[in-house]
Point group: C2
C-alpha cells in the first residue's frame, strides 16, 4: 500500500484476533526497522521479537493486562541501551571498516565525535538519547507495518522494569522503552476499528516562518 | 519507491545541491508526518517548515555551520511541547468530539488518562515524553522523504536554545529537538554519497526470546 493510504488505514488496534502475521511480512517490517536512521548511525538499541505465547502471557500483567499483548502475533519490544560505552564505539568503527573497506585511521575524526557522546554525557542522558533513536526505528516500524497491511499498536503503557525482568534485558545492558504489537484488528470487538482518524489540523501542526 | 528499497537508497547527505523539492513532494512528506502515531494521539509537538534562505542563513551558525542547512530546500524543525497542560487536553478532546461526532462525556475515561500525564509528571518529564513522540513523526518523515526520492539529513547537531530564539519557539511553548533537512544530495562533493550503508547485523539488533 502507498504510505499515505497506509497511514490513513492504520490505527492503534485495541483488540486483535490472534491471527499470525506471515513470516515474510514480519521480515519486511524488521528489515525496514533495521535500516532506520539513527544519530551518527549508531543504532543504540535492540528490538526483541516475542512470538511465544507463554512469554506474552507473562508480559501481560506488566502491561496492565491490555488484551493486545496476548492477541498479537508478534510483540516488538524496543529496548534502548542503558549506556553508550567506548566498547560500543569500537564495535561500530569495526563494522564500518569491514563494511566499507576503509581504515580505522580514516575514521579518527568520526570516532572522536562518537567518543564526545560517551565522555560528555551522564549515563542517564546517554540512555535517554538512545531511547530517542529507538523511537525513530519505532516510527519506521509503524509505517512499515501499515504498508504491509499489518495492524500495529504502539504501546507505552507498561512497567519497563517488569518487562526488563521477564525478558532478562538488564543483563544485556538494555531498558525497554516502547512496544509495538503486530497482528490483525478484531473489528467486531474494537469500537475504535471504524472510528474516524483524529489528527491535529495541518495549520496548527506545521508552522511556517516568513 | 518501495519502503525497503527507499531506505536502502537514502543516506544522511552531508552536502546538498540547493535544488528545490517540488511542492507536491513536500506536501506528501508533511501529510505522512501529520498522520504519524503518537501516544494517545496527542501529537505534542509542532514542525516548523523553513524555506526562506535568509532564515536558513541565520540558523546555520546555530547548527555548527553545517552546509546542508543552507543547501537544503526545506528544513523541518521538530519542536516538542515544553509542557503538556489541561488546555492541551481540552483542545484534543474538542478535536475528537468534532471529528467523530461523539460527546465529551463519552470520552471521560480517556480524558482522565490524558490528565494523568498532565498531573502525574514534572514539566521536564512531559517535555521529554513529547520529544519521544516527535521522534516517531521524525522517523515517519525520514521514511516518507525516501519514498518520494527526496534526500533527508537528520540533524541533532545544533544548539536548541539558539534555534528556539531565532524561530521564536519559546513564545509558542515549543523546544526544538531535531531537524530534518530536505533536498537533493550533491554526489560530487559528498564523499559518503556512494559509501555502502552500515547497519548493525540483524542477529545483534533483533533478538529472539525462546
Amino acid at each position: 500500500m502507498k504510505l499515505i493510504d497506509a497511514l490513513n488505514w492504520r490505527y492503534a488496534a485495541k483488540r486483535m484476533n490472534g491471527e499470525k502475521v506471515p513470516q515474510d511480512k514480519i521480515e519486511n517490517i524488521l528489515e525496514a526497522t533495521r535500516l532506520s536512521a539513527s544519530s551518527m548511525g549508531l543504532q543504540p538499541y535492540s528490538i526483541i521479537n516475542v512470538e511465544n505465547n507463554e512469554v506474552k502471557k507473562k508480559l501481560q500483567p506488566a502491561a496492565y493486562n491490555q488484551p493486545q499483548i496476548v492477541e498479537s502475533s508478534n510483540l516488538l519490544i524496543f529496548a534502548a541501551w542503558e549506556n553508550v560505552t567506548e566498547e560500543n564505539v569500537n564495535d561500530y568503527i569495526t563494522n564500518i571498516t569491514q563494511t566499507r573497506g576503509v581504515t580505522a585511521a580514516s575514521l579518527a575524526g568520526f570516532r572522536a565525535s562518537l567518543m564526545g557522546i560517551v565522555d560528555g554525557r551522564t549515563q542517564e542522558q546517554k540512555h535517554q538519547w538512545s531511547a530517542r533513536q529507538a523511537y525513530i526505528a519505532f516510527g519506521t516500524a509503524i509505517a512499515a507495518a501499515a504498508i504491509e497491511e499489518v495492524d500495529a499498536t504502539p504501546m507505552e503503557g507498561f512497567i519497563p522494569e517488569a518487562v526488563d525482568e521477564i525478558l532478562g534485558l538488564k543483563e544485556k545492558g538494555l531498558r525497554s522503552v516502547t512496544i509495538l504489537a503486530l497482528g490483525y484488528r478484531d473489528s467486531e470487538n474494537d469500537s475504535l476499528a471504524n472510528a474516524k482518524k483524529v489528527r491535529r489540523d495541518r495549520e496548527k501542526l506545521i508552522l511556517k516562518v516568513a
